[in-house]
Amino acid sequence: MKNPSVRRRVFKERLFRLTVFVLASLVVVPLAFLLGYIVKKGIGVVNWNFLFSMPAGVGESGGGIVHSLAGTLLLIVIAVALSVPVAVATALFINDHPKNRISRLIRFTVDMLQGIPSIIMGIVVYLWVVLPMKNFSALAGGVALGIMMLPIVIKSTEETLKMVPESLKEASMALGAPYYKTVLHVILPAGLSGILTGILLGVSRIAGETAPLLFTAFGNPFLNTNIFKPVDALPLLIYNYSTSPYPEWHSLAWGASFILVAFVLILNLITRLVVKKWQIKY
């Protein structure tokens, strides 16, 4: 270790390690600050009244976000109902014909679909749904979010289906079960955890999306459960309130941010539990 060249190399190694640690911790600072800020500003706003009452007028304190909570739930239900059947069937198709030209094209399409900016979803669904129906609607918002969910659910389902052992399929076929019964009664139940994971991941991804909703669900200051009328959503409310000049609305926006982040976090935790508990093991 007395050799000066070795000492220089060891010194360089220490310097490099220090740089890596410092840079990495520098990232964590603003990110931790961001999380802390959301909790600090948001948690004081959240109470029974905030969650279950309608918004108050401009300048009045109090008021709640029940209309956007209901809207977000409605949008998620529509998006899941529209996308999950198509996504699962598509994943089954790719899994059945892995080398097929159509399957390869579908995989490519799924990759491309995942990369399309969310604002484009908004424009296209506006042209497809809002213009013909002459009305902003929860349905249009749900369609936009559903298309965003498709790639996530397809990929997750496909990954799981790959892990279902061939012997299970063979056993079912050997008993004389037709292929569709094998799929419905053997393959899908075995892969249920992966499909659930995909749905949860997809929901946690779309729950916070604002851009696709701007020209589809549009936002609505009133409580609405009609899917053919515009609805509010948590991210839309955060956007509208945070860009307003009223401090009361800013604090409502922090409360809504806290709820939204907590919702996404809980979904992630549930996803992990699902992955852990129901792993495919045969």
């Binding site: 520098l26 198709f93 399309i116 945070s242 996404v264």
Partner: protein, 311 residues
């Protein structure tokens, strides 16, 4: 099994030929349902492109290539050009990648080499996943409340007009948003480098940073590049946080402090109130955005695929 038995009994005296054919029909029906679902996914993407092209066509018919050659976006005077927004998009996203680069490299080296397992690695992983899950609009809100005043005071110190919003503010938030994504891609790539290569270098007496610089990083280079392409694709398409922080000015930005608009942010700002040719022009901006992100993502994915096959 019980279902099948019940069906057998119901089939009863009619013989098994009929039974078989009903099964075969269901089999075929099921197969074509799956095929139909797969094709519908293809159609969605196809219809996306067709819709965007058809809906922006009137603009190109009216103004020709002026959309790509003039510099002025003035909807009141029916003048449309994508260039101010293309410039704004490229400036913000490239600047954000530049800012994110050292930090996400440090994170991926830390997670892929130094702290592969243990509580630190788990905590880092959870935090980065959590941050990836925070919605864009909340990053934007936080940026308005925290980052904007900071930039304003910096601008006052530098003797500039304290807008607070602009290319730099948007890029800073963007880089914060893409660091977790780029770092997790980088970590995956780095941990795919074969152990024997590194061990061989260690066996020859190399220090850790020599191994990282002369073995790990060169081996992982294409994968890391691909990761940055994918992160760039995200930055280019990111809408809400940028819309809230970029200052919404329809001119080519003069520097990193000046307000601007990206392709995504101008759509978010103006599409709701636009009509006629203005709407068409915004759809055309969307088409350019879609093609650009498509191209970047395609490049990223194909480099990544080649890396995975090679490694």
């Amino acid at each position: 099994m019980s279902i099948m038995k019940a069906r057998d009994n119901r089939g009863g005296g009619q013989g098994s030929a009929l039974l078989l054919s009903s099964h075969q029909m269901k089999e075929k029906g099921f197969a074509s349902f799956l095929l139909f679902a797969g094709i519908s996914v293809l159609l969605v993407l196809g219809a996306f492109f067709v819709t965007m092209i058809l809906q922006s066509w009137p603009l190109f018919r009216e103004t020709g290539l002026g959309f790509f050659t003039t510099l002025r976006w003035a909807p009141m005077e029916n003048e449309y050009s994508v260039l101010p927004f293309l410039a704004g998009t490229l400036m913000t996203s490239l600047l954000s990648i530049l800012i994110a680069f050292p930090f996400s490299m440090a994170l991926s080296i830390l997670l892929g080499e130094y702290l592969k397992t243990g509580p630190f690695a788990a905590a880092f992983k959870s935090v980065t996943e959590l941050l990836a899950g925070i919605p864009s609009v909340i990053y934007g809100f936080w940026g308005i409340m925290i980052l904007m005043p900071l930039i304003q005071s910096l601008q006052i110190k530098l003797g500039m007009i304290p807008y607070g919003v602009g290319v730099l503010t948007a890029s800073l938030i963007l880089s914060l948003m893409i660091i977790p994504y780029a770092a997790s891609l980088g970590r995956d790539v780095i941990s795919m480098v074969p152990g024997e290569l590194k061990e061989a270098a260690y066996a020859m007496g190399a220090t850790r940073w020599e191994v990282i610089f002369h073995v790990t990083l060169p081996y992982a280079r294409s994968g890391i590049t691909a990761g940055f392409f994918l992160a760039l694709g995200r930055a280019v398409g990111e809408t809400m946080a940028v819309t809230m922080l970029i200052g919404n000015s329809n001119f080519i930005p003069k520097g990193i402090f000046s307000p601007a608009n990206t392709m995504a942010s101008v759509i978010a700002n103006e599409f709701g109130e636009a009509d006629g040719l203005h709407t068409t022009a915004l759809i055309a901006v969307g088409l350019v955005l879609m093609l650009l992100t498509g191209l970047i993502n395609y490049a990223g994915k194909s480099i990544m695929k080649r890396f995975q096959v090679g490694g």
